[in-house]
Symmetry: C2
Amino acid sequence: MTQTALQGTIALADWARTMTRSAMQDALAEASGPGIISFALGLPAPELFPSELLARAVTRVLATDGYALQYQPAFQPLKAHIVAMMAWRGVACGEQQVFLTTGAQQAMALLARLLLNPGGQVIAEDTIYSGFQQVIEPFQPAILTVPTDMDTGMDVDAVQALLAGGARPAFIYAVTDGHNPLAVSMSPGKRARLVELAQEYGVPIMEDDAYGFLCYEDTPVPPMRALDEHWVFYLGSFSKILAPSLRVGWMVVPEPLIAPLSAIKEASDINTSTLTQRTISAYLDGGHLPEHVETLRRKYRIRRDAMLDALRRHMPAGARWRTPSNGLFIWAELPAGIDTGELLRLAIAEEKVAFIPGHAFGVGGSRRAANCLRLNFSNCTPERIEEGMARLARVLAR
Amino acid sequence: MTQTALQGTIALADWARTMTRSAMQDALAEASGPGIISFALGLPAPELFPSELLARAVTRVLATDGYALQYQPAFQPLKAHIVAMMAWRGVACGEQQVFLTTGAQQAMALLARLLLNPGGQVIAEDTIYSGFQQVIEPFQPAILTVPTDMDTGMDVDAVQALLAGGARPAFIYAVTDGHNPLAVSMSPGKRARLVELAQEYGVPIMEDDAYGFLCYEDTPVPPMRALDEHWVFYLGSFSKILAPSLRVGWMVVPEPLIAPLSAIKEASDINTSTLTQRTISAYLDGGHLPEHVETLRRKYRIRRDAMLDALRRHMPAGARWRTPSNGLFIWAELPAGIDTGELLRLAIAEEKVAFIPGHAFGVGGSRRAANCLRLNFSNCTPERIEEGMARLARVLAR
């Protein structure tokens, strides 16, 4: 036995040797420094968490439910609540199509595992949620990218061209409302056309609707799952409308997928916390969610508008952004030539303000969005938003 | 667009088309029927859960900790507690080597993802935890199997022969104490030899120690991680010593693995529930765990002995089993020719008693253990154990 072997290199799987560090992990570390105003992460407003009602719910569950601390199958009453929430979102589904997950992130990971072969194809926009890219990275897939129109969403013509040209992806990844990071929502016409393409070519859509309930318009548009129950696999989450730390999300999928998903789920973490499932269900039993979501919509709309206003007053000529109808983000494009990665370094070091630079979301390390930035508006008060934008303007003015 | 396309077959990934349904999932469904006495699952005794202390802990956390409901990095004070628990287990480690997971099952899944290439090699015993087999199934690996000695554990000579013969597995999977399902613990000599082989050949050991703290002997043997901090990746869990529904486990791994594991973890479920992490930490702050584990050891030892006694009185001539020093199971071998899969069907239908048939744990669908059964003793009182064994004897006597 040699000293070399005792301390030798641990061989990682091939894909892991080129693994890219997550911009989110970095941001979480950087943005938590003292005095930092952070627009970086997609954090809900902690002061709006219904802490007392959740404390009452968990106390009641622990006092009365003998199964609350045990391994248990998915909690049926929570599935029934989710069916009602889906109806509120404009979707008809049955409990037998609902699959509970440890947050929407896990839903994404389980579906990718079920559908994607190593080296397989995926259709996605060219600027997308980095957590989705992390999910598919181990499969080393061919990501067939399409552009995004900043007013109407995913370029469905480009999807059609790919499919007509012979592409046969395992699935199409689409964020219907409040796109992360681009903050756009798909137009009703595009939703219908994308579903038609899925039907025509027999390709499933992974519909990420983590922000669907956080709509700032009076009339939300139903997600694609409202149009098709066979090809659209819907992903929802309690993280943004209740609390991320409960780690509960769900899928609505065709019933035949439930059994294979259950096996993959069991291999991943046995089951989603029985305690947090039942705590959420007890909270929902009280009928508190609709009012709570109304509060979030009202408060977050105020913050969104405060950020839009601050952008107008502080950003340089040539900067562009849209008013998002959903979600937690504004996507801003600065004049060409400004590198927002470099800007972030200065912003943190000199003015203690943080955001995520656009290139963090570029598929395949693309620098396409190198002059863009993602700004979160849910986690700061209007006053902090104003102060943070003033700081950012000072960095830009240097 | 044709009707066929509208309702066409959803293409799963290649490996998923041959996915085997989990015996555990089936057992969970079957064993929860009314009137069933179940020795099937590895369930802790629910009446021993420290429900009140956990309720106090979660209430305190929700009332005082402004981050308890938010996305957060792993909770450092919990890591400090785990370092102290590892010392109690005979292992010296630092907080920077501790990685929190959503149960030990997730630890297994994350490590497999980090280390195993599609089609890669793994060394494991020929009868092992089915949840481990589910973890590696999507990689379609070559599982190089070795036998198990029912008194001393994994056949380390066979491991050496494989390595000397040129095998270069991504890792060796080993359960040190209270093997699931074989109920054996590795002898101290084999622990040392397996670690030497890992060092000599530069192959990591995935050391599954989910049952290490549940020792029924006066002097527990330290796990392999006590002998080597570079090649032994240790997996621990709060599921069996506190409560499964909290879904918190941990790894102790070399520090350079923490960053890549963090990225894989983030892709899997963002982070382990901040709420359950902090609830466990608050419970541990109170210093209750050592006494609680002592209670579990005392009560489970009584149940183990009740089952051993019932086996002696009820099992047919030629049946064999050992006294397990750790864990939640007894592994029994019935006379050759008895098919425990068929026995289970009868046992549930005619006598309302359940267990897991041995073949459910055979690697590659092996029927090697077709006359064996795994019996859980933690989830039933001694009276129920006696009644269940009498029922099982009646089925065997038919």
